[in-house]
């Protein structure tokens, strides 16, 4: 799932996943742990794309995993697990983001939104990462998630539409605008990509 090529790989993986989900639903802690391990990376990336801050993102991803466990009874086992989970992650991160903005009434991650690279960033790659996170933070939330799901997680437009609960055409448009914006922001660092 993490990698598009990996995602394409698997019937056996999906079958194994169904077994894991069934075991987790029956209260098997180890099976739940395996599911967390399998989806921790994409869940944390999606949460971070929404929240900006890595610690907040981990809190949201954790909430989402626990919430998913509670809701496993509602999961339709004929459908793929990852999009269902990532939808919960996106919702958990969005909820956290709303609570955070209500509490602080501040823009998303002021440090990340700054265009000046932090003085302790010494390598070009780290600068690129910072710039990319900052640029991402400037995008509307849905656009952020759409581009991450498409270009990082390798989901198709239809799958993203299902995860975000929006039309497929809107997903295409969101990905297009996000890409154009991010490329523009990073144009001067293009050789670092």
């Amino acid at each position: 799932m993490t990698d598009p090529a990996q995602r394409a790989g698997g019937g056996a993986r999906t079958k194994n996943e169904a077994v894991l989900v069934a075991r987790a639903r029956a209260g098997d802690r180890a099976a739940f742990g395996e599911l967390v391990e399998r989806y921790a990376a994409p869940a944390r990336r999606i949460a971070r794309a929404i929240l900006g801050d890595a610690d907040d993102a981990d809190d949201a991803a954790q909430d989402a995993f626990l919430s998913a466990l509670v809701k496993l009874g509602q999961f339709d086992h004929r459908r793929p697990f990852a999009p269902w989970l990532l939808r919960i992650v996106a919702n958990a991160a969005t909820d956290r983001w709303r609570r955070k903005t209500v509490r602080r009434a501040e823009p998303l991650d002021a440090r990340a939104a700054s265009h000046d690279p932090s003085p302790d960033i010494v390598t070009a790659r780290r600068e690129l990462d910072e710039r990319l996170r900052a640029a991402l933070a400037e995008l509307p939330e849905r656009r952020r998630v759409a581009v991450v799901l498409f270009d990082v997680e390798g989901y198709g437009h239809a799958e993203i539409a299902a995860i975000l609960g929006i039309p497929e055409g809107t997903v295409r448009s969101e990905v297009f605008h996000a890409r154009r914006f991010l490329r523009g922001r990073l144009a001067d660092l293009k050789e670092e990509w």
Binding site: R45, Q62, V152, G154, R172, R179
Partner: protein, 118 residues
């Protein structure tokens, strides 16, 4: 890089850069953290009850077995006592039960054999 505005394929360069920027690392640590939160969130009482339930079920099964054996033994003794009483009453009344139940003329050998067993 996929520069097609509505390109169907992922932009691998942008995707790789975004992945690097968003990756938090320490996946193992995160899994441990989630499982610890699960253990905290899951009512400990359930674990205690489940533990009790295992012992409780064994205890209840043993108790049921003992009570069953005692009842069976008491029932056997009671029915044997009742049989003895009925038989004694029949004997006191002057004949064996088989003889009383039958409309045929009494067989003295059966009556005598029954009385001898007593």
């Amino acid at each position: 890089m996929n520069d097609q505005p509505f390109g169907d394929g992922p932009d691998t360069a942008l995707g790789a850069a975004l992945r690097r920027a968003l990756d938090a690392g320490d996946e193992r640590l995160f899994v441990t953290r989630v499982l610890a939160a699960l253990d905290m969130a899951r009512p400990r009482a359930w674990d205690v009850l489940a533990h009790w339930a295992r012992h409780g079920l064994l205890g209840a099964a043993a108790a049921a077995l003992i009570v069953g054996l005692l009842l069976a033994r008491a029932g056997r003794r009671e029915s044997r006592d009742r049989l003895d009483e009925a038989f004694a009453a029949a004997v006191a009344a002057g004949g064996a039960p088989a003889e009383l139940a039958s409309g045929a003329p009494p067989d003295p050998s059966i009556v005598l054999a029954t009385l001898e067993e007593r």
